[in-house]
């Protein structure tokens, strides 16, 4: 398969098959499990890096918008539930994660011809999706988690975008480069 052709999952990204369901469930479960491993950024008091976030962009990129959306939405909600924060306490953040996975899947399709290199495409699609998708967390102002838009931007949107973009730029292309040869060998 050449680098610019679409994967079978991307050829018809809206079809929901057993494969879509299982990849979505695997992605969400992996994200929920791996999200328990995170670390505080050196030099900050509360900004944490969550390497598992790369799974949201990876599943969106590799398997399409639907598994990407499910991985972000359900994976983040269950991760919050497992950590004690609650399934719906930060439901807007779960939606933002889902939208990032969804947009990564869409951008991977739309930009496939413009950016032939899959690793670069994964990085670009992920970063653009993160910048757009996390705008949803500004709804923290309405929920009362942030006092005003300045606080929502400074404590929510900006740290989320730059830490998750850093994670996605480094880890998503690595996951794509690891998965692509295996996918080709499996004939998928």
């Amino acid at each position: 398969m050449s680098a610019t052709t679409l994967t079978p999952e991307q050829a018809n990204p809206w079809e929901v098959t057993a494969r879509t369901i299982v990849y979505s469930a695997i992605g969400a479960a992996l994200y929920a499990v791996a999200a328990q491993f995170s670390f505080i950024m050196p030099g900050t008091s509360s900004v944490s890096l969550r390497p598992a976030f790369a799974l949201v962009t990876f599943f969106g990129f590799a398997f399409g918008p639907i598994p990407g959306f499910f991985t972000g939405l359900v994976g983040n909600a269950i991760a919050d539930q497992l950590s004690g924060w609650g399934l719906l306490t930060s439901w807007n953040w779960s939606i933002a994660n889902g939208v990032v996975g969804f947009l990564t899947g869409l951008l991977a399709i739309w930009l496939a011809r413009s950016i032939p290199n899959r690793a670069v495409l994964a990085g670009v699609a992920s970063v653009v999706a993160i910048v757009i998708g996390f705008v949803i967390v500004l709804s923290d102002v309405w929920l009362g988690t942030a006092e005003n838009f300045g606080a929502a931007f400074t404590t929510g949107y900006f740290p989320a975008v730059w830490t998750d973009a850093l994670v996605a730029v480094i880890l998503t292309p690595i996951l794509v480069l690891a998965w692509d040869p295996i996918r080709d060998a499996m004939g998928r």
């Binding site: 369901i21 299982v22 609650g86 306490t89 006092e147 400074t154």
Partner: protein
């Protein structure tokens, strides 16, 4: 590391309820409490949340760390908001604040309003967590799929939700096995790398094999589902769910709470209320 959801509330009053009730209650309660800043009303909602939480009989010793995490996170939220908004509370102008003192260097005013706001934040998040815990600990893992399907979620997505919960214990075990296998090769994931990039790179030997193994291993599940004709027609669930009188009464109670709070909110009666004893003479 115990990541798998634990059925700690087994046999409790709440665990005997229809699982759909627990999901609906969380949604109704969260959407009600986010409208409230008045600590008197929040106190009433906290009492309701505490009673609901107690009915799940979740042993405190098993969830102590989770409560500590919530306390820490809410503290961070409260302090970040106080510092970054320079003491502005719920759009109250600084001229109208009852200031106790100002923080050194930053000059942020600590006022009766900001103290009340902080208390309200703890009360809101504490109540939301108390109502949310039973979803993790008082719903039988096998009831997740049927519960969402019977709530109107398309059956394919309800099945994906059930699969997610079923995959979590095995993927957590895979994660532990991979950590141990990499340790034998001299890899220590906890070791600090050089800067954020170095720390992220240290997760690669853990994240990549677990992810790729999980995807490759999923082929068996996909084949099994295809062989059973998954997706060819509407799916039925072996587990039957039915609301009993207690379920209907509880749901009606939380619907009433949501309706009353929404009405109070539209009437402007849920805004921040500062207790008179906090206001300096």
């Amino acid at each position: 590391m115990n990541i798998a959801p634990r059925y700690l509330g087994r046999g409790s009053w709440l665990a005997r309820r229809d699982p759909r009730l627990l999901l609906l209650v969380v949604a109704l309660f969260v959407f009600a409490i986010v409208q409230v800043w008045d600590v008197r009303l929040l106190l009433a909602l906290d009492v309701i949340a505490a009673a609901y939480y107690r009915s799940a009989r979740i042993p405190f010793g098993q969830v102590r760390l989770l409560w500590a995490y919530i306390a820490f996170f809410v503290t961070v939220v409260v302090f970040a908001n106080t510092l970054l908004t320079a003491g502005e509370v719920r759009a109250i102008n600084e001229a109208h604040l009852h200031v106790f003192f100002r923080l050194p260097l930053l000059g942020t005013p600590i006022s009766a309003e900001s103290v009340t706001y902080a208390i309200a934040q703890y009360m809101r998040f504490g109540a939301m967590a108390a109502v949310g815990f039973p979803i993790a600990f008082a719903i039988a893992p096998g009831d997740i799929g049927p519960a969402f399907a019977r709530l109107g979620v398309p059956y394919k997505f309800a099945y994906a939700l059930e699969l997610t919960f079923r995959f979590i214990p095995s993927l957590a075990a895979d994660m532990r096995t991979t950590i141990d296998a990499q340790r034998i090769r001299g890899y220590e994931w906890e070791k600090i790398g050089r800067g954020p990039v170095g720390r992220l790179r240290r997760t690669v030997p853990l994240l990549v094999p677990v992810t790729i193994n999980a995807i490759v291993g999923a082929e068996d599940t996909i084949d099994a589902m295809d062989l059973r004709g998954f997706g060819t027609g509407p799916r039925t669930w072996l587990r039957g769910l039915a609301f009993d009188a207690a379920d209907w009464l509880t749901l009606a109670g939380f619907l009433l709470i949501f309706a009353v709070v929404t009405w109070l909110s539209f009437s402007g009666l849920t805004r921040l209320w500062v207790p008179p004893f906090l206001i300096p003479a």
